[in-house]
Symmetry: C2
Subunit: 208 residues, 2 copies
């Protein structure tokens, strides 16, 4: 059956999955700029042209990894415990978003590099859309509406505001644009100090 680890056989057994994992490992170890299709093939002990059959092109493989990225991102912004307020929940989700970006910068950058991904992949679009759902629900809560209701224009704009802020913060952090503002800034400082302070400016916690 060759279902077990048959890496030296002519047929790999589960090359598709192995290539995705190899790519993800490369992203983690050497970042997005360290990825090459041939490198991923080497890591899976397979010829340079092998990936083509499963993914068509480099973009096909990367799209698969980006899908996993959006799913992982969704997990990071789903809040576990019940938050005290809607704004508190928003902040928890924001922290999850940034935590994901800082923990998996290669994945995160890939997910927004349309030039590396298949432009019209339905599964990628769906995964991206699914990752927004938790933010959408919190937005509705902020407006005092039922969480599973459809977003009207005001809610859409509000969600866009939250998303832009957090995404911009994450992107600037990964671009190294904060090394000047806070020379010693490491991930912990960004997550524990700077991000909450910024969010408090934009979504102040209501006095009680």
């Amino acid at each position: 059956m060759a279902v077990e680890t048959a890496r030296d056989a002519y047929h790999h057994g589960d090359l598709r999955d192995a290539l995705v994992k190899a790519t993800d490992a490369i992203l983690a170890e050497r970042g997005l700029e360290g990825f090459t299709l041939r490198g991923a093939a080497r890591r899976a002990h397979v010829s340079p042209a092998a990936p083509a059959h499963h993914f068509g092109s480099s973009a096909g493989l990367l799209t698969e990894v980006a899908i996993l990225g959006f799913e992982e991102l969704a997990r990071h912004i789903e809040i576990e415990g019940s938050a005290e307020s809607a704004t508190a929940r928003l902040k928890q989700q924001a922290a999850g978003y940034v935590r994901f970006a800082l923990a998996y910068p290669g994945r995160f950058q890939l997910m927004f590099r349309y030039d590396l991904l298949l432009p019209d992949d339905a599964r990628l679009a769906a995964a991206s859309e699914l990752a927004k759902v938790p933010i959408a629900r919190t937005t509705q809560a902020l407006l005092g509406r039922p969480e599973d209701a459809e977003l009207d224009e005001k809610a859409s704009v509000m969600m866009l505001a939250a998303w832009s802020t957090v995404h911009g913060f994450a992107h600037l952090a990964l671009s190294g644009k904060f090394s000047k503002l806070t020379p010693e800034a490491k991930s912990q400082h960004l997550l524990d100090e700077l991000l909450p302070a910024m969010l408090e400016v934009l979504w102040p916690e209501p006095k009680r």
Copy 2:
């Protein structure tokens, strides 16, 4: 003297500038992913290895273009007429920021792709820093402080909030993440409708 257009001579005359302009033109025509060092050399009618002497590497040339980008960005966020309020001024600057990103996507994306730029270039850092000055001044105005004063922590955080929001918006727009939210969304719609609406959520205009 060969100061005049001597493109067919052995010595170009002003190859350094010609390569920068060629690169900028490629970014405008084919985007950042359309740039190659050899392509820029071809456009300047020069051999593939010629750029190396002036810029050392591809990153050196791109860094030069990124510096021009930050200078152009600074021009876009300097407000011309006097704004009615500090928040109104912030919104004008935000619009300038996004207008720049949408008008010159190749340049804009390059400016934040640290993997393509020289990591420790002093002039690039200075240009990037200079582009923040107008936002810093508006931040001070928002807090009712003298505009040329040093930013304390609160002001820094506030500026970071504004910057993150606008940068995230621009980045998401260029990533094509708004095509779902607003299928027909073109630059005009983003600039005239969506962006002002989002900013109004975060920085509501004070009642008068």
